[in-house]
Amino acid sequence: MLDGLTPKAEARLSLKSRLAELTLVRPWVERLAAEHGTSEEKVFAINICLEEALSNVIRHGYKGEPDHSLTVDFSASADGGLVFTIEDSAPLFNACAFRERPAPASPDEIKPGGQGIPLMRKFAGSLRWEPLPHGNRLTFGFR
């Protein structure tokens, strides 16, 4: 689904680098999902991936500075898959190369944070990172 040319975006959501802006994402996703007859399970997966990716960019990429920009583009591929692409102008960070922690040896070793990228990997159908001249492009595919 992510091979070849990226399909033309059907919809774009532009955000500022503030966690409060993330409240705009779910209604946007749900509107698109309704238009495309997307299942509840896929909407859950899309929402979890976008929340984790966008909050990572805001908190870590932009280090909480509130006036940077992010965009999320949506397109439906010819084979019925849904593609969401996040672009930012934060320092390069390859989420696909992030090394996950080994499974905790005991319950008390479970860390409260650091679950975002593993959750993205679990719930995205496909995940691709590309460096941009001044930022990152992260593309999620969902079948």
Binding site: L19, L22, T23, R26, E41, F44, N47, I48, E51, E52, S55, A103, P104, P107, D108, I110, K111, P112, G113, G114, Q115, G116, P118, L119, K122
Partner: protein, 111 residues
């Protein structure tokens, strides 16, 4: 995100979470969850009505659960819907907090 607390027989504190445990939901319950964890030995997290769980929501559960465990207490999760349970298991939270789908077995696990 709504949170309600009930005292159940046997000294169990039942915390009923209702809504989305996303970034916004986690921020709404974090303080209450930490206060509850500081004063509870037996904690039942009723997640039947939780419709979404992200990494910040996981943090809202893990931190209080570890607090209770450090005090020698016990925590169980009751009734998550399948997608929420999938998130819990993906993050290995079920090794810290056992998941039960019957209230009777959840309560029994706390005794």
């Amino acid at each position: 995100m709504q949170i309600a607390i009930e005292d159940v027989d046997g000294g169990v504190t039942r915390v009923i979470l209702d809504g989305r445990l996303d970034i916004e939901g986690a921020a709404a319950v974090d303080l209450k969850m930490n206060v509850i964890a500081g004063s509870s030995q037996l904690l039942l997290l009723d997640m039947q009505k939780v419709t979404f769980l992200g990494s910040m929501g996981l943090r809202s559960i893990v931190v209080p659960a570890q607090t209770v465990r450090r005090h020698g207490g016990k925590v169980v999760v009751f009734g998550p819907v399948p997608l929420v349970e999938e998130v819990l298991k993906a993050a290995n939270i079920d090794t810290l907090i056992p998941i039960h789908h019957e209230l009777s077995s959840a309560l029994a696990a706390l005794q």
